[in-house]
Symmetry: C3
Subunit: 667 residues, 3 copies
């Protein structure tokens, strides 16, 4: 990337009247230098099968180019036109809920050859049309692609072939997946039942893995088509999204971001987050860390909220804070979904930069200041390199497995544990990367955080033991190591394999009711001294006990332990503790690992992040995630505050207005 | 109507043993002078296809006639016999939930020609049988007719034809409904998908409008059949019902009462309401106002509760209070559903006047006093004429649109806003009519109350502006004017079009959290000084601001405004306020409009209503909706309290016993 | 039975590796003398249709026999193999939710002839293989058999035949079931609709009765097959279960335990119950009382929890307390589900005696003490005879009827009322049997407790009147006698028929809101002086009023009454009272009946039960269901505390440790 991009999704085809020129003028006023177009346009560009009409595409490209605004073109395959479904109803995914219905986007069977035939044709037609246009800087394939729970008969056949390829013999599947249970044995491949009704968590989780592979395969296929056309100066990206809780919460269950992003030149994501009094920046940080970590490089925020929902409308200053927060995590683009607010259909209340009246409004006016600053500071903030010494290990397999074997209250899932740990790191200003089971660069970190690694291969756990043995630090949560990659519970001491590095074992666990840690070992106070949901009854072998349970019968068991193993240290949290306890455990681990530094002098709501820019200089972002003015002492080398151009000296006291941001480039 | 009717639904066919004579004797003892029969009898009167048996009909007509009790005969088409469904399973409606199942009533596709064939045959046979019987005063077609969500393939075809008829070209639909969104464009009528899965609110709302038209068409068709037979002295009515929340709550989503009632001679309704400590009379008043307003005339309460459910069993006095409350709203008939309590099947716990043992009981005994008074006072209370100067504008279109675009918490819907406003009018004894978008008599009112008119044509909004310009007063709630009749958000300033009369605009809105009105401008006290769910960030142009939000960032925006426009005044409530705030806003509007009168000296739980009787005299009802005795000063001309026969003079202090009622006819 | 059995379910086919020898050694260490095998093994023993492989069965039998452990072999028919469903998808039950899906157990149509063909074949093959093996002491047919809501077209045909057989003419059904309601009349057998969609509670309840008969028939058929093979010294049993609320709560809705158990030699049940701080022993007692009462004999606890779920892991002492609690209720076997903890599939967190690591753990270690004591005390505790003078009358018909006609809040069902009454008896140490509508031994009891006998034949109610007339005591709850066996409400005074013995009547009922009993007649204090959910407005004829409602309008009605009738007394509780009130009513009834004895000197958490052993000696169990040490005075004859061997004298003070148990055999 040559510069920072400030963008919007632009839907010419949704406009209630022709206003391309006015829109472009208002974009230019706001410093918008890129638009993303095309992802929902199939029915516009191919109104009937084989009849193509790219008029609106052409005119938008022309007008944008004339205005110096660059364009990312999306392949329009994630929403299928009416004619296709009318002619071929079977392009709709059959899911565990039954036959599909036309209406929503993302309802296709992404393995259906009819769908693939039409998808290929429109992609090729569109690429031919746009590839040489000077406005086009890149492509997005499809959008927020997932497998849409496709599970019809044809997908079941594919799954059986996948299983035979992977396991060779049914007997191997029977053994590894425990199919004798409830008489589920498959004694001949022909007997393989649809897994839609399975109650076997191993089989169900394998199907989920297979479904994630369908996504990777589908996206790779689209990229290979686009690559046939794209110019060397153009990129291909995808808009990945996250576990959705009304906002981008955690690891995406249905896509393996690390696998699926391989095919792309650059990773793109959408990040939506709470706002107003609930704006913390955590989702911006988490989503950014995932995106950056997939390729160890800068990434694109292809969508984030402008006004968004009524409960998201930003307070003055928040839009600006959010934009720079993305940059602080290593983004090279911040693009809003979307330019205007849609007048019909479904997402009328997911508002854009402009309201339905297309007039300037307070949020748009704030965007103008951001656009100006992006343009001005682009050389200093683009392609920021970040180097972290802490990483959080996340796993789609563990996530899926914990869906099959839920935590007792069924309210908390894998991502709650990920976030319990990640959030505390964020709040103490520990920058981190995200790694996954197939990451080969673990040794570049000093401290690994491992939430609920419930399903993991022996190989991975041995690798983690090696990591500690060689001097690394790890903090594990409960449930880690319990099953292998086929969700088969280990028959050895628990936590499986890692018990060696952790110096503990347990064979029993309970659901805590009114359980705290004995004598409040972390000094968190009565209110926060609790554990919930899960408690493993741990006996240390070589570990030091950091906390015992306070319980009339199980007070002799350890709750949290710390073990020196080889050159390193493994901490094990055998229960789901309060955030305050987790914070203390992680703080101690960070200190143990020698990573407690100057940035830890401040904490949430004061957030700091840093990176090294193309001039090789360190750039520090300071962000105030609160409705009150905050003061801090700048601890690094003298530098320049880039937004104001003021000089800042080390140890200078700085004031951050509510929802304010400062960016200091060291000299 | 010649007299007041006091009635019951009577189900000879449900009786566990033959007791027609005893029942009639007990009815006569209670003053019952009309029974409603027939609506669930298809399987009784046509035990096999084409085999008719009207024995029980004949005998009931004979016996009633002999006893001087008149009869309303229902066409038995809302519950189909087993043989029909066994022979033609496709008469059952296919709904978004799938194929139908036999068992309940109201499960047919009311457009299915097989069903219509059989329905016509039984209607004609039955009419031939009963039309000349002297006991029969009228007919009810079908019962609580709705569309039952019929949405199968045949209905989809009809809908496409309806759309082509209405819009002419697909491109017009694409434009007006924004079908480009998510690639939903329909580029050929053949591609028109079933709308069952649509995510397009415009299309979904149009389908709902089409479904309501099916109800209107079906009822008109039945009426045309009955009209072929009925005598000039007989009437045709329908039993309309309301949005159901375990009782009759608000505007019926699935029927346009104003359109559907055109075909009928007289409007009938059923009204069920909370009782015991929760008896307020509001549902009696609201349902009555709707029924009366459909034709500007007296109406029939074809069903209301006697004992009803365990939580409805009336306290002593309540049955009587309820009966006269119906009359106070302009009813000419009060009929209980139902005479006895059913011993089998489904509604065993929806008890009638009699319990399962058929013996006199306290509720039946109270009915006896009502029957006596109805008979005695009939000449003075029948055909009461009511003239109100306030009207509430309700809209099925707005209701449906707000189902597609729900309020944030998804707990409150259109009817909650209607009731928030209506209830306060009721509680301050402001009698009102109900009007709807096609009402042509708006100018007969001085004050219009307009709750959440979310979807409305330009024409309607212009008409409302004219109304104000010409001296009318309007109170709008938030969300009014936001979209046109196709649920397309207006691209102009909001509130669309009416912003002119309101003298305000807004382009942003938020979800209030802990938001109140600055400085409690209505003096409602801390407890009631809140707004919830929705707040529009309003800027006045010419309006006076009645209330600002109390909010750290949005305190500069107006919440409630008042604007003088032409000769009139438009008040706009840009948020969902507490009942107490709404009460104050409405009280001020009533006073502004010069409508604050003598009846406003008392308020809920003391309710007063009035009308003019056939002698041209004003009759005032006073009702005590509380468990405690109440005192009031009678403010009108001297008159006679009709129940006691006592003379009442102006300014006399009157005492109302708990759940008591007084009826004073002015001299 | 010759001895007490201490057992486990053992799943050789689920083992992750071959460890039969180690398992057997650990079993022997724990005193396990019986294992239950086979119920989920169909896909193992018949890997392809007609191909049989009993290797694992043989080897387990051999190894167990060698170790002196006896075996109960289950027919493997409750979980069908993949090949069967792949070849014959229609073996899966079609339920009201639609077509079945392969995966879970208990998904078959138990009337499907293909399923029955295969089931018969595997049963015969298996019986031939094992019948002569010396290790085999008995058989279990199928497992937790129910009807799985099978309701497909073939089942509907069977139901019509059943109805014709039972009622003869459709007109009889129309009359008795009130099918005229909502035009549901069936005027020809060919018109009989599927009852899946019925809204007729009489018809729905009859179908439920028919479905329970399917279970009885299916089990009888299996027993008849097994009986062809079994040796005279072998028994056949079934594993019945109970209404499931996450544990065994009450009467099983889908099986008539009394009918279904007739075919068996001995009744077996599974009982799962809350544990840790929620361990009360009530479910152990209730399930045991049902099981014992089906045949008036000792029974088998074929499954109960060892570790179970995380929220069930027993505190030290609880496993032991539980085991002896089962014996105290008359069990001859206590078997855990299951030996080990399963490593794959679905029930991974339903842990066995052993954890997933197969190593000794605290629960297993406690089991070792139990096994030792069972073996040692077997001669003194086996075949304990219990004779109770109180019985609780339960009824599947009443249960089903109350599902169709739910209590107002829809949260409490029939079993809540059963348990409200049963629990209070338990807590005051009143041992009781369970009887049902067809029990012919009512006269052996002095006091009957009758919860919510909503649906009952005239004959039964007359029999209950006779019982009182002849000197018996009965306590009825509200809703008793309301309908006949076809859920037709009685047209007589309520409570139907029993109003004669109760000396009361009512025809109205209401839902109490803030209602208490006037003047707290039972002295339960303000907190507990409430009634909820239901109140009948009772007028006494000859009855004494024990309590009036405290209500502003209905204070003149009785809530609880007591009537002397003939030689006996009938108490009627016309509302759902607090547990404390119910406790007082029952205590008074027990005293009235002359049954208040020495065991009533203590109460929960101190529980005592007794029986007479094979030596004819009385054995008293004392159980402390609390986390605190308790003291009691032993009131019976001198004896020996069997666990310790200590001598105990009458009036001696005994100390029970927390969760402790003492067993005293009188001299």
């Amino acid at each position: 990337m040559q510069k920072l991009y400030y963008g919007v999704a632009y839907y010419d085809e949704y406009m209630p009247y022709d206003r391309l020129d006015q829109d472009i003028q208002m974009m230019k006023d706001a410093g918008i230098n890129v638009v993303r177009i095309g992802e929902s346009t199939w029915s516009t560009h191919e109104p009937q099968s084989g009849v193509f009409d790219f008029t609106s595409l052409d005119r938008v490209l022309e007008a944008m180019h004339a205005a110096g605004i660059q364009v990312i073109v999306g392949t329009p395959t994630y929403a299928v036109p009416t004619w296709m479904v009318k002619e071929h109803p079977d392009v709709l995914a059959v899911t565990p809920q039954g036959e599909g219905r036309y209406g929503a986007r993302q309802i296709m069977d992404i393995t259906n050859p009819k769908y693939l035939f039409y998808a290929e044709r429109i992609i090729r037609k569109m690429m031919e049309r746009v590839k040489d246009h000077p406005a086009v800087i890149g492509y997005q394939t499809d959008n927020e692609t997932k497998h849409y729970h496709t599970a019809g008969p044809n997908v079941q056949v594919q799954f059986v072939k996948y299983m035979r390829e992977k396991f060779g013999a049914v007997e191997k599947v029977n053994e590894e997946f425990g199919l004798a249970y409830w008489s589920n044995r498959i004694n001949s491949w022909e007997d393989f039942p649809s897994v839609v009704g399975t109650i076997n968590g191993s089989l169900g989780a394998e199907f989920a893995r297979f479904q994630r592979k369908l996504v990777t395969d589908f996206l790779s296929w689209q990229v290979s088509l686009v690559n046939e056309y794209k110019r060397p100066d153009q990129f291909v990206t995808q808009n990945f999204d996250f576990e959705w809780r009304g906002y981008s919460y955690g690891v995406q269950p249905d896509v393996d971001h690390f696998e699926a992003s391989r095919a792309f030149d650059i990773t793109g994501v959408d990040i939506y987050h709470p706002s107003q009094d609930d704006l913390t920046g955590i989702e911006i940080s988490f989503g950014g860390d995932v995106a950056r970590s997939t390729k160890g490089a800068s990434y694109l925020v292809l969508e984030t909220e402008a006004q968004g929902f009524a409960h998201w409308v930003p307070y003055p200053g928040q839009l600006r804070l959010q934009a720079f927060s993305h940059l602080a995590s290593g983004a090279n683009m911040v693009a809003y979904w979307h330019w205007h607010s849609i007048h019909n259909s479904f997402e009328t209340y997911w508002k854009g930069l402009l309201s339905h009246d297309f007039e300037p409004n307070p949020v748009y006016n704030e965007a103008k200041t951001i656009g100006r600053d992006f343009a001005r500071l682009s050389p200093k903030l683009v392609n920021l390199r970040k180097k972290n010494e802490v990483a959080v290990l996340v796993s789609n397999e563990a996530l899926t497995a914990l869906e099959w074997f839920k935590l007792p209250d069924q309210e908390k899932n894998y991502n709650d544990i990920v976030r319990l740990m990640y959030d505390q790191l964020y709040r103490m200003n520990i920058g981190c990367d995200i790694v996954h089971p197939s990451s080969e660069n673990l040794d570049q970190y000093k401290l690994l955080i491992v939430p609920a690694l419930y399903a993991a291969s022996d190989e991975l756990l041995e690798r983690l033991n090696d990591f500690v043995r060689s001097g690394g630090h790890i903090v594990y949560s409960f449930k880690s190591g319990f099953t292998n990659e086929h969700i088969k519970v280990r028959t050895t001491h628990q936590p499986g394999i890692i018990n060696e590095a952790c110096g503990i074992y347990y064979s029993m666990f309970a659901e805590p009711k009114n359980v705290s840690l004995k004598d409040d070992p972390f000094g968190v106070g009565e209110e926060q001294n609790y554990v919930e949901t899960w408690m493993e009854l741990i006996t240390p072998t070589t570990a030091e006990v950091l906390a015992y349970y306070d319980h009339p019968h199980w007070g002799g068991y350890a709750a949290i332990t710390r073990n020196e193993y080889g050159e390193g240290v493994a901490t094990y949290v055998g229960c789901l503790p309060s955030p305050a306890i987790m914070r203390q455990v992680l703080e101690q681990a960070v200190k143990d690992a020698g990573l407690w530094g100057k940035d830890q002098a401040i904490a949430f709501p004061l957030i700091t992040k840093y990176g090294r820019n193309e001039d090789g200089k360190l750039v520090h972002f300071y962000m105030n995630y609160s409705d009150e003015e905050q003061v801090l002492v700048y601890p690094h080398q003298d530098g320049e505050e880039l937004l104001s151009g003021h000089r800042v000296v080390s140890q200078q006291q700085l004031t951050l207005e509510r929802w304010g941001v400062l960016i200091i480039e060291e000299k």
